[in-house]
């Protein structure tokens, strides 16, 4: 005993870092099971209609699919760099990286818009006369294509909205170098969206 009293620093507010992170991971698990089920459906139908899937996949734009993969992979990088930056107390850089992530997310959606527009223009959309005249396997392929990339696109849209909130928090110092769990959880969501696309690329675009 040297006489000095060690008083623990009183926390200003209650924070449950582990709980917040665990909660987000459990949500990620539900998403994995949701998309996992769709991937299983894809697998089964492809097993039943291999030739139709092969032929239908030929019609997808591989270049656009690969471009969007690179866009999303890069957006995952800028997302993680935004978290590193705020932890290193570089607020400006963190904002820059988060803005880049949002921009790349929007780029992905714009590409998706052009891709879908071209398909719809060619009369390929669920329930279209042109598609209904085709073999059942091709109808299933395009049904799964619109369903799965559509659900994924919805996730990208939600991700961009979440990041808009994160941007507000970041600018107003609600996300700081010592309190960044919100940004980290937003990152978990965004990376999950990236992982799902990693599987969509070979299954739809490179399946031919």
């Amino acid at each position: 005993m040297n006489g000095t009293v060690q008083t623990p620093a009183a926390p200003a507010e209650h924070r449950d870092y582990l709980g917040a992170k665990l909660g987000m991971w459990i949500f990620v698990f539900t998403e994995l099971v949701l998309f996992g089920g769709l991937f299983i459906a894809y697998g089964v139908y492809r097993e039943i209609h291999p030739a139709d899937f092969h032929e239908a996949s030929n019609e997808l734009n591989v270049k656009l699919g690969v471009t969007n993969t690179l866009v999303l992979l890069t957006s995952s990088l800028t997302m993680v760099l935004s978290i590193v930056a705020i932890r290193l107390r570089r607020k400006g850089q963190s904002i820059f990286f988060l803005a880049s992530t949002m921009l790349l997310g929007c780029t992905f959606l714009v590409n998706k818009f052009f891709e879908w527009s071209a398909k719809i223009h060619h009369g390929i959309y669920p329930g279209s006369e042109h598609l209904m005249a085709r073999p059942p396997g091709q109808r299933l392929f395009f049904g799964l294509y619109y369903g799965m990339t559509g659900l994924h696109g919805l996730h990208v849209t939600v991700g961009i909205i979440i990041m808009a909130f994160m941007m507000y928090f970041l600018v107003h110092d609600k996300i700081r170098h010592d309190d960044f769990i919100k940004l980290e959880n937003a990152g978990l969501y965004w990376h999950l969206v990236d992982v799902i696309w990693i599987f969509l690329l070979p299954l739809f675009y490179l399946a031919a």
Partner: protein
């Protein structure tokens, strides 16, 4: 354990930009490898891309970007359990369809 050490353990040490840029470069290279393999029209190589390269890419995102490498064992087991459930469902569904 000092407060800062505790905080370090909870948040993990800060990994610099470099590690993540390297992981991103690996992901880009693997993507092009996947596209290259699909262009060969060789079924074995395409299957290799689907069953090895694609899960490797996903693992890299989970392990580094989603920070799983630096998480505790319990969370890692939870991820493995979730993926295990998916594999069981995949197996059951396929055996049902292929042998009915």
């Amino acid at each position: 354990m000092s407060h800062s050490a505790h905080s370090e353990a909870e948040h993990g040490h800060i990994i610099g930009y470099g590690t993540f840029i390297k992981v991103w470069a690996a992901l880009v290279v693997l993507t092009f490898a996947l596209v290259g393999l699909s262009a060969t029209h060789n079924e074995t190589l395409i299957l290799f891309g689907l069953l090895v390269i694609t899960p490797t890419k996903a693992s890299l995102v989970f392990y580094y970007f989603m920070h799983l490498k630096y998480e505790n064992a319990a969370l890692k087991y939870m991820v493995v359990a979730t993926l295990g459930v998916l594999v069981i469902f995949l197996f059951l569904t396929f055996t049902d369809y292929l042998y009915r």
